[in-house]
Symmetry: C2
Subunit: 162 residues, 2 copies
Amino acid sequence: MEHELIRARFEAFLKTKSLKLTSQREAIFERAFATHEHFTAETLHRWMCDGDDSRGKTVSRATVYRTLGLLEDAGFIGSLDTGRGELLYEHLLGHEHHDHLVCIECGKIDEFRNDMIEDLQEKVALDHGFELVRHSLRLEGHCKDCIKVVKQRKAAGETSRA
Amino acid sequence: MEHELIRARFEAFLKTKSLKLTSQREAIFERAFATHEHFTAETLHRWMCDGDDSRGKTVSRATVYRTLGLLEDAGFIGSLDTGRGELLYEHLLGHEHHDHLVCIECGKIDEFRNDMIEDLQEKVALDHGFELVRHSLRLEGHCKDCIKVVKQRKAAGETSRA
DNA sequence: GTATATGCAAACTGTTTGCAGGTGA
DNA sequence: TCACCTGCAAACAGTTTGCATATAC
């Protein structure tokens, strides 16, 4: 989806909700859609404070959290939890639904979509009398690059716990 | 699996790790395996303080967290995040691997197992060069009982945000 | 003009940690 | 005995909130 179009939708959304188009909301929105990575609220805040954004507009932490919540409610961005007490965001518009592969070694995140899994989930929900609203599927393991590292470490003799 | 057997495994585990069988660890272990519900560290702590446990042994919050971590590392219990900054535990022994259906209305948690989904996950990981270590799949929606409630609410006129 | 936003700092939640004293093997 | 544990309270991270001030419409 074109950036212009997404931007227009954002403005329309604010209008219909009688929310104001403030410079902060604009900056946060732009920054969130400028990246194709996943990011935490904290990361986004840092990006904006560090002037990594050309506009150099700084925004308070509170506003970042508030605005991300807003964007999520509106469906512009989605969140997935890292499994360790943090929320990762990603923009959704212009992006098909997908699930994630997370490398537990280096943190890399890959995306995938598998329609067969999606269909089976629907079926499972149905069988249990559930009306499926959303799902979160996270596959965790070692990515291509880390598999060797992990193997080497094992070969070098275990010193790990558990 | 028999309780006695699980208990024996727990003691064996402690022994092999040179960990001590303290009254606190014993009490936490027993309490965790006495329930078939999912629970948070906080909940378990409350259960124990409230003397809901016949032994009335109280244990500090810190020890509850430490012991649950221990039990998780050892594979006695598993954790799933609620999606909102809390960890839910469940005991694993005598319990096949399964995934969860969560009602976003009443919080009810159902379990399911679908081998086809499991296989497809392996396939996806393989296709991406990942070595799969674990996964977390959470289906969220409205359970049988809540579907009506939600419908009624909708019929009664939307007052919700977003 | 006024409802809505913002920034700040303080509050909150779930969890972890340092340390002095206690306890199981 | 002595390494390992515990309880406490303080520290932490991520996030939310109350309130006075600022701003979009």
